[in-house]
Amino acid sequence: MLAPADMPTLPRDKSVSRSTLCKITGLGLAGVARLLAGASIRWIASQPDTCQRVYFANHTSHLDALLIWASLPRLVREITRPVAAKDYWSRGALRRWLAEEVFNAILIDRTDIKVHQSPVDLMLRQAGETRSLIVFPEGSRSTSGEVGEFKSGLYYLAKKRPEIELIPVHIDNLNRVLPRGEFLPVPLLSCISFGPPLWLERDESKLDFLARARRAVLSLKE
């Protein structure tokens, strides 16, 4: 499934000709993140694949996107782009470089959402026909550790591109590794669980779909 021969031919964009430094940094950070967060990775009734997917996860820590990205096999990782908040990731040259060059992230402006440039359109445009995305439908990190209600972005994503596989991801214990408002991590053990894909059903309402997606994430807790 992950043999190089099966890899989709990538469009010639920035990420293909990424410099060696970016690649090494990416590999190094992925390794450090997995080690530091003691991450164990589970695929439950699901398999890593290079087909186009949207990974949606509960959001507990700044490390979430990095860790999901790091948990994917390298070939999958190279075609997967985290969707991250512009206000956080474009602050400072290092952060911007990491976000744009190393993680190849799509930065979304949370403060300035307009109808004619909706984040969903932007994401889909950036994803093209081959790229997978990592999104956090809660919008922001939860403070309580509970999984909050999902925002409607995931529904519109599914509606506009109904053929894309939506993979639920549950992140456990990472909020204790790096809680909100802290910048030094504590090396506890965390767990990243990937679940089976789901799609938007015909005639499924927005609320039903979002509730089902949220349940899919929660069901991976055990």
Binding site: V186, P187, L188
Partner: protein, 323 residues
Amino acid sequence: MNDIRTIALVAGVLLLLSVVTGVGQFLKRHPDRGIDAAAVRTFNMRIRGWWVLCTVLAAAFWLGSTATVTLFGFVSFWALREFITLTPTRKGDHRALFWVFFLFTPLHYVLVGLNRYDIYSVFLPVYATLFVLARAAVAGDYKRFLERTAKIQAGLVVCVYCLSFAPALLELRVSRGPEGLSQLSSRDANFRLLFFLILLVQFADCMQYVWSRMLGQRLVAAAVSSNRTWEGLLGSATSTALLAAVLWWAAPPFQPWQAAIVGLVVAVMGFAGGMTMSAIKRDRGVKDYGTLVVGHGGVLDRIDSICFAAPVFYHMTVLVIGS
């Protein structure tokens, strides 16, 4: 490795491991012997664990005492991760935990490596404790204050402080033997001492299981552990004392009768360690630390007995050397 006793000990252990591996494989191939298949699987898994343990220890010994202290340092670090992951802490403990992991634990092992018993014997139990209390207070969260700080302290003492007494054996001045000379750098003798401890602890664990299965009637505490019985404890303490007495020549400062007492105490302490960890696990509703986070081996499950036995073994050795 030029000491005849070291060679004898290593050869003996290798022989024993090969024999039990053979038995394990035989039982696996012949499932119709009336022995529970799950028990055979557990047995084989344990044996594999011992091979890994022996290989790692041999490598560390070969590299020297600094490498061994470092190895134990990493084991402590990992065990503490498991311990703190299992016990819920609050956000107010975050900064305290950061220093516990990245300052106190490594520094303690540096002090052990430098053989500064005068400092490391109080460093964690006193200074780290005071720091954790104060840091959590300054963080401004008073909810269940004593409970949270006690958890961190218990983790530090069991996973780091107690375990570090095992590699600390390497820094002891062991002086005994027919030569009657005070050997300052008796590397072999020190490594044999550490190996003796690990061997006794593993043997006691194993005997506890065997005796419990054969004669076990009365559970010590049914709510905490469903396989630790008084008969198992008694049997394991006796067998371990016997083994220690037979192997007295391997452990430098001991006479046979002293070795027997050491074996007895090590078995009882190992039992205490197992019971304690069981109690913590039961409280948190997990069976072993390995299943806590899928895919991790569960270091804490492996070292609970040695954590409890190591400090007592260390101080008994010091006592015997001093007399």
